[in-house]
């Protein structure tokens, strides 16, 4: 053994490395279990254990004595800690907390101390027991990351929180930790064991590590159980809590993607209060049909009106459209306060009110961002509770929209339409019941490239390609208004997004002022369908109010339907007051209650008021629901983040040749506090995530958004796929080397024969576990094995003679050498156990031990 040779410094260095490793291991094990004092005691115990173990192992103490002594110390400390908590003496002296601390100190310190001491001493005494030490270390590291199993990236939470807070991928951090551990173990191995054998062990270790990583890459991370439990919806710092699966799973029966969304829901509901996605999932399906929940059939929750966007759209109208509309609006505003409280139009379902309530509670910002819960949601029982809960998450991201084409909407806001409400059911508007109506709205998610039943006209519109990655599940797809084609695409990051699809939209580019003078409605509409889009409440006050507004605009324009629509819009802008605190549920007709009541309401109320007024003066219109995102939020990036607060409902007018045009109401008075500016970092990060893979693997991406990143990933993927083959190839190469060294003596000639024959004999011996020791001369080795393998001496002698006996060594006797080689093989077979020889035969690098 090389112990004598080890210099003092190398002993000290290796002890320090070991102590550091053991400290880390102790910390890792104790982290979740004990207090600071316990951790400190563990660290001290680890250091002391390594040092004392080393010293004890180098002393003349018997191994048994060391083990016994260590166990005795452990028992003593354990008893002391027991004593500290079980008897009154110490608590009365130190106080209860002091006694507890002392117990912890003794317990953990003793545990770690004894463990490390035993490991170190045994490893020093018996070289092979080093493996125990390494195993203990690896187990400690593994224990920390055991919670990470099943692909739950966010565990351990302290790590993933930190990673996200500095903008790193937790996966990469975890991999880095793994690599670090492997390196540490390798270092320990090297410290422990010098020479080529350690090197071959190192190679094996590296190969194993790569194999593990590759397995993860090739198989992929296990499908996460949590669907939107990604830390994105919760306030930073508060990680999602785990709930027993199945808690929320009961309601996972939603048609299209029940399988995917099942278990994760449960976790959510516990955490993101509101149980938004959760309960909604169960009910969402029902809501589609029954529409009990009001406007949210598509999972849209009425949110705040986008004040900014709305107002700018009006500006456009005003500027170009001429003063008439403006004037009319102004004039009308004064007179039209007359609306008395109406005879309650009959049974407004409670649902109407239920839905708006939720967003209203959530919104505290009047701007582009309003409150809105995650889309599919049922009427909720506990509104007050929910209100508070949603206040916290009004800005939770719901989806990421990646624009492939640069598009600036004339209204300065992106209207992401999901569902249209056009059928008047007697009290309010609900999704179309007629098959021929609203055929531009896609029916469900695409499973293949799908066109909508009706394509918007191309006039005044431009094609906008974009990709939508949903963070929470929605019942229906949405995209920039004017959708005509949908296509499924690969989910860029299943742990973050529930699904992704590509949308092609013919989005509006025509300015509002150029819409004046156009006719409304589609010429091919049947009279029935036209009537369908004009169906409104029977309450005569709508007609009266609309007429009075229309009468204020110049006569020349009075018959222009779009001018009428704008006039009414402007009147509503001026006269209505935006507030999310408005309540009209108690009234029989909430729209009338608002319009002729306190004039306070939010988008759903406004949209209904606008549509009812328009319809009363013959403008075919409907309500579009979905998301409204201020174009400013996009900034210069091509990423648009859709937040829960962006939920919106807006009125639309069908302009002939242009299609459905959003004419949003933007109340000039807003009683809600302004919203928070958007977090650009978050936007960029989410955008990055959504782009991680090319949106469409079939087609080359239209724009190389992140070419290097994609290429690097492709390469990593290819490398991962090739790795097992490379490994296999390497293994075959090693066996090839073995085979070559085995057969080459049968045809080698001249002086080289002596060498290769001797080498082949040494290979055979190495496979049986017999190797020359470091510094042992060849003759000494031959003598050592002489009793069992007498033929080796001849070969060794010849090999050395050829090398050392001068310039003309003379031909070795080939026959004699081959005879000796087969003699060695015979003798090894006769004296060594079969299993040992077979094991050696299978060992790919056994020849590395021969030198």
């Amino acid at each position: 053994m090389s112990v004598e040779k080890q210099s003092r410094t190398s002993i000290v260095v290796s002890t320090i490395v070991r102590a550091a490793a053991m400290c880390l291991g102790a910390l890792a094990l104790g982290w979740g279990v004990t207090l600071t004092e316990g951790l400190g005691a563990s660290v001290l115990g680890a250091i002391a254990g390594v040092i004392i173990g080393e010293v004890a192992a180098r002393s003349r103490l018997k191994t048994g004595a060391i083990v016994g002594g260590a166990l005795a110390v452990f028992a003593l400390c354990w008893l002391t800690s027991k004593f500290a908590t079980s008897f009154e003496l110490l608590p009365s002296l130190l106080g209860p907390s002091g006694a507890l601390t002392m117990a912890v100190l003794f317990r953990f310190g003793a545990l770690i101390f004894t463990g490390t001491l035993l490991l170190r001493a045994l490893a020093h005494r018996k070289q092979n027991l080093v493996v125990l030490e390494l195993a203990a270390l690896s187990a400690a590291v593994v224990a920390v990351f055991a919670t990470h199993r099943d692909g739950v990236l966010v565990r351990p939470l302290w790590l993933s929180d930190w990673a996200w807070s500095v903008g790193l991928e937790p996966v990469q951090v975890l991999l880095a930790v793994g690599v670090g551990s492997v390196t540490m173990l390798a270092l320990l191995l090297i410290v422990q064991n010098r020479g080529s054998r350690a090197l071959s062990a190192l190679v094996a270790l590296v190969a194993l590590g790569l194999l593990a990583i590759m397995t993860v890459n090739a198989v992929g991370l296990p499908a996460p159980t949590a669907e939107n439990d990604l830390g994105l919806l919760t306030p930073p710092g508060e990680p999602p809590r785990q709930m027993p699966p199945g808690d929320g799973g009961a309601n996972g029966g939603n048609g299209e993607d029940a399988g995917e969304s099942d278990g994760g829901r449960g976790e959510d509901s516990g955490d993101q209060e509101g149980g938004a996605a959760d309960a909604g999932e169960g009910d969402g399906g029902g809501a589609d049909g029954g529409l009990e929940g009001g406007a949210d059939g598509g999972g849209m929750e009425a949110g705040l009106d986008g004040g900014d966007g709305g107002s700018s759209s009006t500006d456009g109208g005003e500027d170009g459209g001429g003063s008439s509309a403006d004037d009319g609006g102004d004039g009308g505003s004064a007179s039209e306060t007359d609306g008395e409280s109406d005879a309650g139009s009959s049974g407004f379902e409670a649902g109407f009110e239920d839905v708006p309530v939720t967003p209203s509670s959530a919104s505290s910002d009047g701007g582009g961002e309003g409150g809105g819960p995650p889309p599919p949601r049922p009427p909720s029982e506990d509104l007050e509770n929910e209100r508070q809960q949603q206040q916290q998450q009004r800005s939770a991201p719901m989806a990421v929209v990646l624009l492939d084409d640069d598009y600036n909407p004339p209204s300065q806001a992106f209207y992401l339409r999901q569902v249209a409400l056009s059928h008047f059911n007697g009290t309010r508007l609900v999704p179309a019941t007629r098959p021929e109506a609203d055929r531009d709205i896609p029916q469900g998610y695409p499973t293949e490239p799908t066109f909508t039943a009706e394509r918007p006209p191309t006039l005044g519109r431009t094609v906008v390609h974009h990709t939508v990655a949903l963070i929470t599940e929605h019942n229906n797809p949405f995209g920039i208004e004017g959708m005509y084609r949908l296509e499924p695409t690969r989910n860029p990051n299943p742990s973050r997004f529930t699904r992704a699809y590509r949308v092609d939209s013919l989005a509006q580019t025509i300015e509002y002022r150029r819409l004046f003078g156009r006719r409304v409605g589609h010429p091919q509409w049947t009279a029935e369908l036209r009537q369908y889009y004009l169906q409104g409440p029977t309450d005569p006050r709508y007609r009266a109010l609309a007429d009075s507004i229309v009468n204020r605009i110049p006569v020349a324009r009075r018959n222009d339907p779009f001018s009428r629509a704008v006039a009414i819009k402007l009147w509503l802008d001026d006269n209505l007051i935006y507030t999310t605190r408005a309540r009209h549920a108690s009234a029989a007709d909430p729209t009338a209650d608002m319009l002729w009541g306190n004039k306070r309401g939010y988008c759903v109320h406004f949209a209904h008021a606008a549509v009812f007024l328009w319809r009363s003066v013959g403008v075919p219109s409907r309500i579009g629901t979905g998301y409204h995102v201020d174009a400013q939020n996009r900034g210069s990036s091509s990423t648009v983040i859709v937040r829960s607060g962006d939920g919106h409902a807006w009125p639309e007018v069908y302009v002939e040749g242009v299609g459905w045009v959003v004419v949003d109401i933007a109340a000039k008075r807003n009683e809600d506090p302004p919203g928070q500016p958007q977090d650009e970092d978050e936007r960029d990060r989410l955008g990055q995530m959504a782009r991680e893979q090319p949106p469409d693997p079939q087609e080359p991406p239209r724009r190389q958004q992140q070419p290097q990143r994609n290429r690097a990933q492709e390469m990593a993927r290819a490398a991962a796929a090739a790795f097992p083959w490379l490994l296999l190839l390497g293994l075959l190469a090693l066996y090839g080397v073995k085979l070559w060294r085995r057969i080459v003596p049968s045809f080698a000639k001249g002086p080289a024969l002596a060498r290769v024959a001797y080498r082949a004999a040494l290979d055979v011996l190495a496979e049986a576990g017999v190797v020359r020791e470091y510094g042992e001369t060849r003759e000494a080795f031959s003598r050592r094995v002489e009793a069992e393998i007498p033929s080796l001496a001849v070969l060794g002698h010849e090999a050395e003679r050829v090398k050392l006996s001068g310039p003309a060594p003379g031909e070795p006797d080939a026959a004699k050498l081959r005879e000796a080689l087969s003699g060695v093989r015979r003798e090894v077979a006769a004296t060594k156990k079969l299993w040992r020889r077979l094991l050696g035969l299978a060992h790919p690098t056994s020849f590395l031990d021969v030198d």
């Binding site: 040779k5 060498r755 470091y774």
Partner: protein, 350 residues
């Protein structure tokens, strides 16, 4: 002072090989010399085969040997047996085959080297040679005599010459000293200075004879008393000298072997446990020893095994280790390990 004079005149021995044997020109002849030494000495000294090998090796390497052993362990027997093997084939000179000098504190240098004496008959001084004028000299208990006498041995051993009365006289080319010293009973001794220790090629620590060998010694004691093995062929002085030359020229020392030897010496100088490392002279002396040992192991080249086997003998008494280091052997083993490993690996390289 005692002088053992061999009783018989070997010239008349029936075993004289001077005229019969062909001159030694190759390694086979040298090997024959080794064999004859071996066989004869082994008959006389039982259970000491290793020491016999080392002594023959030193004789063929033209070096001197210091035996360190307990009294009665066969040192003198060995030396006498060696002398007994040798035939002086130059009977004309004053040099005899074997002399023994028992060193005592009152010994004088002239007792060793010889002195000039006035012959009253011729009225002239003539040189009366001392016991060093022999082929093989047994210097018994060399550490018991004064440094003055020890230094008289010094010139003889190093230069193979003796200067008496300002006249230098050559010793024989074969001149071989076997010195002994007792490791115990050190009172009143003069430990050899390291300069003198350096003159010895090997210092051999003999150990007690093994049980079986001891039994055999007792059993064969009677036979040996009657000159057992005296009929075995002996070796002439010329043959030894020829064998030395043959070994020096025909046993190949590969450059890697020389490197290995030098590296061992370098390591001893670097080792913190060693105060005084191996000298360069020791390396020069080591070369023929390595060659001789190679021949004795039937090799025509020096291998790492020779270095491994002889290093302790060659360097053991030349190293001065730091206080507290218990064994020079372990230090040397550590110093040899790395160079030997390199030499061993070399054999597997192309």
């Amino acid at each position: 002072m005692t002088m053992d004079t061999p009783g018989a005149d070997f010239e008349n021995s029936p075993h004289i090989t001077r005229t019969l044997a062909p001159p030694i020109t190759d390694l086979n002849g040298a090997w024959g010399v080794v064999e004859r030494f071996r066989n004869r000495i082994r008959m006389a000294v039982r259970g000491r085969d290793e020491v016999i090998e080392i002594v023959i090796c030193a004789l063929l390497a033209d070096g001197h040997v210091l035996l360190e052993d307990y009294p009665g362990s066969g040192k003198t027997t060995l030396a006498k047996a060696l002398g007994d093997c040798l035939i002086d084939d130059k009977p004309d000179d004053i040099i005899v085959t074997f002399r023994r000098i028992q060193f005592t504190p009152d010994l004088l240098p002239s007792d060793v080297t010889g002195t000039t004496i006035f012959d009253p008959n011729t009225h002239k001084f003539f040189f009366r040679s001392g016991p060093v004028f022999a082929h093989i000299v047994l210097a018994d208990e060399i550490n018991r005599t004064s440094p003055k006498v020890q230094s008289a041995m010094l010139e003889a051993m190093a230069e193979k010459q003796v200067t008496v009365d300002n006249r230098t006289r050559k010793l024989d080319e074969l001149f071989f000293v076997i010195a002994t010293q007792n490791p115990l009973d050190l009172a009143g001794t003069f430990p050899l200075p390291s300069a003198q220790l350096d003159r010895f090629l090997f210092k051999i620590k003999m150990t007690h004879v093994a049980r079986d060998a001891e039994l055999e010694i007792l059993a064969s004691a009677q036979a040996r008393k009657h000159n057992a093995g005296s009929d075995l062929p002996r070796v002439t002085r010329t043959e030894v000298c020829d064998a030395r030359r043959v070994i020096e020229t025909q046993v190949h020392v590969a450059p890697q072997v020389r490197e290995c030897l030098v590296d061992v010496a370098q390591n001893t100088r670097k080792d913190p446990r060693v105060l005084q490392g191996a000298s360069t002279r020791s390396l020069v002396l080591a070369m023929p020893a390595l060659q001789a040992r190679a021949l004795m192991n039937k090799r025509n080249y020096v291998s790492g095994e020779d270095i491994a086997a002889l290093s302790t003998l060659i360097f053991g008494h030349r190293l001065e280790v730091a206080p507290g280091v218990d064994s020079v052997e372990s230090v040397l083993r550590d110093c040899m390990r790395e160079p030997l490993e390199r030499l061993s690996r070399m054999a597997m390289q192309r």
